[in-house]
């Protein structure tokens, strides 16, 4: 597998690089094509023509789109992402701060969702008619229908009305739970079904007949087999964490990449838009590669297709 893995990783990193370049370049072009630009405020505030011309020249807005794209790609090669017109700071600094905050949310949510859902799913899957499953299943089905935007608003209300959760600025509880709960519910449902299917398969009946203890059959044999379908959705989950965090960051005033992207797009901050697309693209591409590698470790058949 190791030689295959090496080749797979090289190929994936090359495609990921192309993906990131295409996404950020299109974001830059899109931001330039949008009506209005960073100098529009000056225009509206009736600044004199020289000031406006100077600002547009400084922001390279007087150059053709292709020229600006070339200049940006050239800067990218030297790890220079340009300067934000909105914040008047280097884009790279802004991205480092904000992307770290979104990554914190995403990782915490993923860790909580997985840590909670896998064992619970094994338990409900092993006894689908037990009392525990009877309570957990409807809760899961409800949470699955509760996307992060709604979850964040509901939890925010709960936090404000009952003070069971901290709701102050910078507190992680509401944004992380809003992201984690629906994903946990989805993973729990999958894990539960996969466990039930694994337990019904003849090889586990045979293992039990050989005298392997029931707990070992469930937590070692069945769990290993059921990991495969569950890990299959992790690639999707990574995308959903990003989309979900956009809404959650707004509801909970979390200064992450999502809000920065929004501010950049609405403020027509060309370099910042491109930078945000770059950072988001890198995080998504990286997350997808990790998800594929983990899946291959759990299921050697995946590695054979590389």
């Amino acid at each position: 597998m190791s030689a295959g893995l090496g080749r797979f990783l090289i190929r994936r990193f090359v495609t990921a690089g192309i993906f990131v370049l295409v996404v950020s370049s299109s974001a830059l072009v899109l931001a330039r094509l949008a009506p209005g630009d960073a100098a529009t405020d000056l225009l509206l505030s009736r600044a004199n023509a020289t000031t406006i011309a100077q600002t547009r020249a400084r922001l390279q807005l007087d150059r053709p789109i292709v020229w600006q794209l070339g200049a940006w790609l050239n800067g990218l090669a030297h790890l220079d992402l340009g300067r934000s017109s909105l914040f008047d700071r280097p884009v790279a600094d802004l991205l480092r701060e904000r992307a770290a905050r979104t990554a914190t949310l995403a990782f915490a949510a993923l860790a909580i969702a997985t840590g909670l859902a896998l064992p619970v799913g094994v338990l409900t899957g092993s006894r689908p008619r037990g009392a525990f499953a009877r309570i957990v299943t409807p809760v899961s089905l409800a949470l699955v229908a509760c996307p992060p935007l709604l979850g964040a608003l509901g939890l925010l209300w709960l936090a404000l009305a009952t003070r069971w959760l901290p709701a102050g600025p910078g507190s992680l509880a509401v944004p992380v739970l809003a992201l984690a709960l629906p994903i946990a519910a989805a993973i729990e449902r999958l894990q539960s079904q996969a466990t039930a299917e694994a337990l019904a398969a003849p090889d586990l009946t045979a293992a039990a007949a050989r005298g392997v203890p029931a707990a070992r059959v469930l937590w070692i044999h069945a769990a290993r087999q059921s990991l495969r379908p569950v890990l299959g959705i992790f690639g999707i989950v990574i995308g959903s964490l990003f989309s979900g965090s956009l809404a959650v960051e707004f509801v909970t005033s979390w200064p992450g990449l999502g809000r920065l992207t929004y501010e950049a797009i609405v403020g027509r901050d060309v370099f910042l838009v491109a930078g945000c697309a770059l950072a988001g693209g890198v995080l998504i591409a990286f997350g997808n590669i990790v998800a594929d590698v983990v899946r291959a470790i759990a299921d050697p058949r995946v590695a054979e297709t590389w």
């Binding site: 993906f19 094509l33 089905l141 996307p147 608003l153 629906p182 989805a186 992207t261």
Partner: protein, 332 residues
């Protein structure tokens, strides 16, 4: 999903569309009317029993106690019996009772219930048209890719995979944000539906392609090709095989896009006041200083939750959340 199963599964969606069309007629007040002294007024309770015993449903008019603290009390001396089908309203109370606020009022003193009801058409409509658009694009692209195979197939699926990997909320945000920020409600409706269709088609295309490619190898398809059927006739024969898949996709896409509409409007890039959708209304709810005291502002969130829950259940896909995989490119 067979044909009868597909039809049964579509019933809740059909019901929702009918409800969205009828809902504005049920509104007790005009959604844009701002009632003085009713800012954040709580929901009126409908009573059927008082000291004198049982009687027809009635409410007590609200009286403002303290504008700053937004405190109200019920005027117990003036019970107002609900009147049905008068003055062109399904339910109302006499004019001297003030507005009928069965779900409370928002910051500007507007009736939340009426706003939820009139917003249904916008929210559900955009989601349904966006989903149908995505199905159309997905069926055409997937049908071509699966029916023709070869290089075209590889290129089309490459594009599909590319869009599929992008988090849809950002795609919609970027494309919508690049357009003029203030647009007429009708334009916003068409634009959002188009953006949703554009960002949600790849998942449909992938599924349709797989089904069509598998069908293409069957005997009936070989026979059709041998007898000289062109691509269009071939696809007309092949695509029905994907109809069950398309029904499930529709039932997954509508709730996913409903959530997408809520997100975009909540961010201020969708429907803007006074043409409020459910997402627009949630802007009011996210106000930390009032949410604890005015939970009725979450009514649109509850409406979205219910619709997602019902459609999701009717799709039969129990494990994977609709907003996660259905509109995979939208709200994944």
């Amino acid at each position: 999903m067979d044909r009868a199963g597909g039809r049964a599964a579509l019933m809740p969606l059909a019901g929702l569309i009918v409800a969205a069309v009828l809902a504005p007629a049920l509104a007790p007040e005009r959604p844009t009317d701002q009632f003085a002294d009713r800012s954040y007024a709580p929901p009126m309770r409908v009573h059927v029993h008082d000291a004198a015993g049982w009687r027809a449903p009635f409410v007590y008019p609200q009286v403002l106690d303290d504008r700053l603290m937004r405190r109200y009390h019920e005027d117990l001396s003036r019970p107002m019996t609900l009147t049905w089908l008068t003055n062109g309203r399904v339910v109302s109370i006499p004019a001297d009772g003030g507005p009928l606020l069965m779900l409370g009022a928002d910051s500007l003193g507007r009736d939340v219930l009426s706003r939820v009801l009139t917003g249904t058409g916008r929210s559900v409509g955009v989601a349904v048209f966006g989903a149908l658009g995505a199905l159309l694009i997905g069926a055409v692209v997937g049908g071509l890719a699966g029916g023709l195979g070869g290089r075209l197939d590889r290129w089309l699926m490459l594009v599909a995979d590319f869009v599929l990997v992008l988090p849809g909320a950002y795609v919609v945000l970027a494309l919508r944000g690049a357009l003029p920020l203030v647009l007429a409600p009708g334009v916003v409706f068409g634009l959002l539906a188009a953006l949703f269709a554009f960002s949600a088609w790849p998942h449909v295309a992938r599924g349709v392609r797989a089904i069509v490619a598998a069908e293409r190898g069957r005997d009936y398809a070989e026979a059709a090709r041998a007898s000289g059927a062109g691509l269009v006739r071939l696809l007309r024969g092949l695509l029905p095989a994907a109809s069950g898949f398309l029904v499930v996709e529709l039932l997954l896409l509508v709730p996913a896009l409903l959530v997408a509409e809520a997100t975009v409007s909540y961010l201020g890039l969708g429907f803007s006041e006074p043409a409020a959708s459910w997402g627009t209304m949630l802007q009011d709810a996210a106000n930390v200083s009032v949410l604890a005291d005015a939970p009725w502002l979450l009514a649109p969130a509850a409406a979205i939750f219910l619709v997602v829950l019902v459609l999701h259940a009717s799709s039969g896909a129990r494990a994977e959340p609709a907003w996660l995989t259905g509109g995979s490119a939208v709200i994944r």
